[in-house]
């Protein structure tokens, strides 16, 4: 059917268009659709006999999927181990609907809290002491593979801890807690992330066993609960009340790098030295090429040929020679060419023929004999001939030879001197390279030792502050690998609201916040805002961190306090220094 063409159709009046606008209806449809989707997801899970249950909370578009198996005696699930980053199950909870983002997303990867690796014999178990003084107690036969079979041999335990707001920001672990549609943020008394691997493959905790982590926490209050992060439901799951042992004070850990493989990079200086070191072998090779080239470019010295006196009785030829082509024959001017005894084809009749052409070319012994090619029509005869002189010509040639031989000796001596000089220069350069190599290697070793020591000092410093305070040991009973937390939910700060504009260094350029972290200084909590507005309690103290275009910007507590006090929404921020390489430095930068 042909398409209809309307010309000059009457436009629809604005009033009519507006009368169809119904945003409330749109939102209702959206909510209804979301709930239906949540229901169908839940029914899908049931059909798959998955151990999830979906709780649909009214029309508030909030759907929480609770993962029951966590911390319960059930067969191992893959979900709580390696799939943490990739888990993308759709959940309509407002904080958890970042469909296109990883659930755990460190804002800057270099700041992320690194894992420490330990090895343990599965059949023996053991107690691992972490640098923070925390203990990881692994019973015998604690691991099974994905078929549920006991594992024997070395198991690699990867472990890390999160103590403060900087660790929370750096790790990208979401701290939003959704309890039956009520959103809150978790205030942490400490968090652990523990994984197990054998030959790079994840292993699971034996359902009949549990790993106990005695975690050293600086947060002594007893209001905390144990939670485990369910990366499929994208929510924290309450496990139990915290079981803490109060008042234990510990010495700083003496754990050295030899006890644990800490995944720390080389220092920037080492990297630079390594680069310089790697640049030397190519220089050595290049220098060799230059040297060889220079030697080859030295003037060639041609050995003069000593004239030979003609042998009586030998057959001879008189020839015109192009001395430019055969300079060594200059000594044989007016020479005759004696036919060598090796010419089997020679007979005296050859001398009787008038040859149409006779050519001399290089003989088998260069500079000593020549190949004489005689041609007459089709006939070609080749003879090896030797130049020779007779009488006065010989004497003259001998004199000339002697003079040239003297020149030759001088030239040889000069060449040898030049070669020697070039060789010395070359060897001096090579020696300089080797010295440089050695110097750089020594410096690198020193730098590595210094760096290692600095790292250890830094680690000790980090935990010194913890150990110098009153501490409690919090017990994590781990039955599945993953992230566990000792927390208590806290509501978003209330009192004031603000739509901040983040200005770089008080300049005219501002940044667009993808995520705003409001770091509370009175509690170990970070409030995340994805919205343009933030809320805060004017009586509390905060610093602030803004993620924009893959960069972090900070506003310290003094500046932020001033902005909040003056209700000034233009908040000055500074880009996080490139020298900040870990969460400890981030903590310092935030002034926590």
């Amino acid at each position: 059917m042909a398409t209809k063409f309307n010309l000059n159709r009457q436009p629809v009046p604005d009033e009519e268009i507006n009368s169809h606008k119904d945003f409330g209806e749109l939102v209702n449809k959206f909510k209804k659709q979301s709930i239906e989707k949540a229901r169908s997801d839940a029914s899908f899970l049931k059909n798959k006999k998955a151990t999830y249950s979906a709780i649909i909370a009214g029309v508030a578009v909030v759907c929480t999927v609770t993962y029951f198996s966590v911390f319960k005696k059930e067969p191992p699930k893959e979900t709580n181990n390696d799939k943490i980053i990739t888990s993308q199950k759709n959940n309509t909870s407002t904080q958890n609907t970042k469909l296109n983002k990883a659930f755990i997303e460190p804002p800057i990867s270099k700041l992320n809290v690194p894992y420490t690796s330990y090895k343990v014999k599965a059949e023996q178990g053991g107690t691992l002491k972490h640098k923070s003084n925390s203990k990881i107690i692994i019973p015998k036969k604690a691991f099974v593979n994905k078929q549920g079979q006991d594992i024997i041999g070395d198991v690699e335990i990867k472990y890390r801890e999160f103590h403060n707001q900087a660790d929370i920001i750096a790790s990208g672990i979401p701290m939003t807690y959704d309890s039956a549609g009520v959103q809150s943020t978790l205030e942490s008394a400490g968090m652990i992330d523990i994984r197990g691997y054998q030959n790079g493959e994840p292993v699971y905790i034996n359902p009949k066993k549990q790993i106990t982590v005695e975690f050293q926490s600086e947060h002594t209050a007893d209001r905390y609960n144990m939670y485990v992060l369910d990366t499929v439901a994208k929510n924290w799951v309450y496990v139990s009340r915290d079981n803490s042992l109060k008042g234990q004070k510990h010495e700083p850990s003496k754990t050295s790098a030899a006890d644990a493989t800490n995944e720390k990079a080389e220092s920037p200086k080492t990297i630079e030295l390594q680069k310089q070191l790697e640049a030397i072998p190519p220089k050595i090779e290049a220098e060799k090429i230059v040297y060889t080239k220079k030697v080859n470019q030295l003037p060639k010295v041609v050995t003069p040929t000593k004239p030979t006196k003609a042998t009586a009785g030998r057959p001879q030829f008189e020839l015109d020679v192009n001395y430019k082509e055969f300079p060594e024959l200059e000594a044989f001017k007016n020479a005759i060419f004696e036919v060598g005894a090796e010419n089997q084809n020679y007979n005296s009749k050859l001398a009787d023929i008038t040859w149409s052409s006779a050519e001399v070319s290089e003989g088998p012994i260069k500079g000593k004999n020549y190949l004489l090619t005689l041609k007459l029509r089709e006939r070609v005869e080749k003879l090896i001939v030797y130049p020779a002189l007779t009488g006065a010509d010989y004497d003259k040639a001998l004199k000339s030879y002697e003079s040239k031989f003297n020149d030759y000796k001088t030239a040889v001596a000069k060449r040898e001197a030049d070669e020697k000089r070039l060789k010395e220069e070359f060897e001096a350069k090579q020696a300089a390279f080797v010295t440089e190599q050695k110097r750089l290697t020594d410096e690198m070793i020193k730098e590595r030792i210094r760096w290692q020591k600095e790292q250890e000092d830094e680690l000790n410093r980090k935990f010194q502050s913890i150990t110098s305070q009153e501490k409690v040991t919090r017990i994590f009973n781990v039955t599945n690998f993953g992230i566990c937390n000792s927390d208590c939910p806290t509501s978003m700060p209330q009192g004031e609201k603000m739509n901040p504009i983040f200005v770089i260094n008080n300049s005219d350029s501002f940044i667009r916040s993808e995520k705003t972290y409001l770091v509370c200084h009175s509690k170990n909590v970070v409030y995340n805002f994805y919205t343009p507005s933030i809320s805060y309690d004017p009586k509390d103290t905060y610093s602030l961190c803004v993620l924009s275009n893959g960069k972090l910007y900070l506003c310290d507590k003094t500046q932020l306090g001033t902005c909040f006090a003056n209700k000034q929404n233009k908040i000055p921020v500074k880009e996080l220094s490139v020298d900040v390489n870990d969460s400890y430095e981030l903590k310092k930068a935030l002034g926590i």
Partner: protein, 198 residues
């Protein structure tokens, strides 16, 4: 051909300053968190999207229904929306384009072409032909018989007076590609007009 000519008044609705884009982006981010915050975007673009949909059909009720469908899809998928430096409108138009095309695939009878006589004059000017009354019928026939993709380009450029940048974003083409394609369509239109006038 004067494809870049500015004698046609193109819709200024699409053009946004950096501040406007920022404001819009902030609303989008808020809407990602809470669908209630989608309101300003709905208000801002409802009329435009309805206009786009209704431009391609006769049935007003269907156009209103489809417009509602476009916004529901937008709200459902707003999480997936990524800011790429262009107004949110281009994303909405893409959804609208897809919904309209789906509707026509299901029921091609609903497809109509709607234009003003001034639009036909503009096409004549573009192909450097003086508009004559006799061209009206020829142009209407040529245009409605165009393949859907070509018709889209003519509609967007001449009947809706959109800039090439916007056309390219709606149709998921490069700006150059949109220009080249339109140039070729106009060449064919010109040939038909020249042939007929002889």
């Amino acid at each position: 051909m004067l494809l870049d000519a500015v004698h046609m008044e193109f819709s200024p609705r699409y053009h946004h300053t950096a501040d406007m884009l920022l404001d819009e982006q902030l609303i989008i981010e808020a809407a990602k968190q809470n669908p209630e915050h989608f309101g300003p975007l709905y208000d801002k673009y409802y009329k435009q999207i309805f206009g786009y949909v209704y431009q391609r059909m006769d049935d007003k009720d269907t156009a209103f229904d489809l417009t509602a469908q476009v916004f529901l899809k937008a709200l459902t998928n707003i999480e997936k929306y990524e800011y790429k430096g262009v107004p949110f409108a281009s994303w909405l138009y893409r959804i609208a384009h897809s919904e309209v095309m789906q509707l026509f695939r299901n029921n091609s009878k609903l497809r109509t072409v709607n234009a003003d006589i001034s639009d036909l004059r503009n096409i004549c000017e573009e192909v450097e032909e003086e508009y004559m009354e006799q061209y009206k019928g020829i142009l209407m026939t040529v245009i409605k018989d165009l393949p859907e993709d070509d018709l889209q380009l003519i509609e967007l450029r001449f009947f809706e007076k959109r800039a090439f940048k916007e056309i390219a974003e709606i149709l998921n083409l490069t700006e150059t590609n949109a220009k080249v394609k339109l140039y070729r369509i106009l060449e064919r239109v010109k040939k038909t007009l020249t042939k007929t006038s002889k």
